[in-house]
Symmetry: C2
Subunit: 229 residues, 2 copies
DNA sequence: AGGTTCGCTGTCAGCCACTGTCATAATTTT
DNA sequence: AAAATTATGACAGTGGCTGACAGCGAACCT
């Protein structure tokens, strides 16, 4: 480190950009802490900005709205999940690839150096509970999930070599997978603190259980057969 | 109709309540018309209230927020769907019951006297497009769908005689079904106007196609088999 | 090293969604 | 007809969010 010229392949961070990253992290941390301690609605944007000693205007240059600051951590995690999914070999069955990617994401993000600040597994649990109990946040989170599903569908379509707009199966599979993960989130965040002590393995177990239920649930639903309208 | 005494089993409407219903309908219609003509964001609540000649404060006594007014029609439709689902006999396979209920809802709401005002099939199409292109509305709609899924899950659990909190399958099936319907909405609203001319049958066909794809999509996803972690 | 350019930030002003409060008018009840 | 209930309007205030402009410091060029 410390090369004077501009040669690094991964683009030198630059003092300016490092400061920006630090400001953003500080805002996310402050928002997270305030939301958890006094609630989402009772925390004003001015408070968050003041805690980091920037103006309210600057807050909105980092986040489009208050919700985005609250969901920033989840957004980063989902970004990581997308990368892991893209890593999987195309020969792998789609649902298996999804399963491995989501488990890898949870494991990595819990053990790696992402632990600092408000980015641990315990914090994730409290965040999920906060989201579930705050209508405005839940709405924003579901919208983000919908966008995420579009991206997943595109990746699946590319893997299988089918057209993403013509063939509805990638979208449907992505939606089903998203539903399973969301159901797992809900089950995990309401399951009491016993699960919490198990760390990421607890969450992974719940997700896998949901995925295992997919088949039986649909079979029990007798989805086939003619309806006769 | 026109009985003078208070004898009707379904509780006499009363002058007050009829007026309230008319105000609400007028607000929904005005909001719908303004949203479609000038866009959601460019329409202020004051405009909507002024169009019906009530105060802004009154608007917020009918709707918790601007989104709720936009989604009121969908909310009524989903209410009707829930009723149809509750009508289905418990012996019926769950997914078949869901399928019949959603098709019946679309058919009934298109042919019945619900056609007045902005409650036709054509209006539904434009509304779905508006929602899909307005982040704020999409978020609110997805949150409503999530609540709806909880209700559906409860009904399914009761039908099958299982515990709604212990057994995750009703929730999962409800989520999967919701995903299929949402995917169908998206496909229908972006399918061009050819579908629109087919009336409700076009929409129903798309939904049924999505449901038919559920099985193959999951089978192609190789959901079973051990992953080995 | 010097000056220039560019991008981040703060300040100010303003719109609009949304809420609490109280007075008033209309409806229902007795 | 009087009293209790309830919808509505008028008003004021909070807070999320945006546009415009100016200042300052990093980055880039010579």
């Amino acid at each position: 480190m410390g090369s004077t010229s501009t040669a690094a392949p991964a683009a030198a961070p630059g003092l300016r950009e490092r400061k920006k990253q630090r400001t953003r992290d500080a805002l996310v941390d402050a928002a997270h802490r305030l939301f958890l301690s006094q609630g989402y609605a009772r925390t004003t944007v001015d408070e968050i900005a003041a805690a980091v000693d920037v103006s309210q205007r600057t807050f909105f240059r980092y986040f489009a709205n208050k919700e985005e600051a609250a969901l920033a951590i989840l957004a980063d995690a989902e970004e990581y999940f997308i990368e892991r999914l893209a890593d999987r070999p195309p020969e792998e069955p789609p649902l298996l690839a999804l399963r491995i990617a989501v488990c890898a994401a949870w494991r990595d993000l819990s053990t790696e150096d992402y632990q600092q600040g408000s980015r641990g597994v315990g914090a994730a649990l409290e965040l999920l509970r906060l989201i579930e109990s705050t209508p405005s946040l839940l709405a924003a989170q579901l919208r983000r999930s919908a966008e995420q599903e579009q991206r997943v569908a595109a990746i699946l379509a590319a893997r299988q070599g089918v057209d993403a707009v013509q063939d509805p199966r990638p979208r449907l599979l992505a939606a089903v997978f998203g539903a399973a993960v969301r159901t797992a989130h809900l089950a995990w965040s309401t399951a009491g603190d016993r699960q919490r002590e198990e760390g990421p393995e607890g969450m992974i177990a719940v997700i896998e259980a949901q995925l295992d239920h997919l088949g039986p649930a649909l079979v029990a639903g007798h989805w086939s057969s003619d309806t006769g309208h």
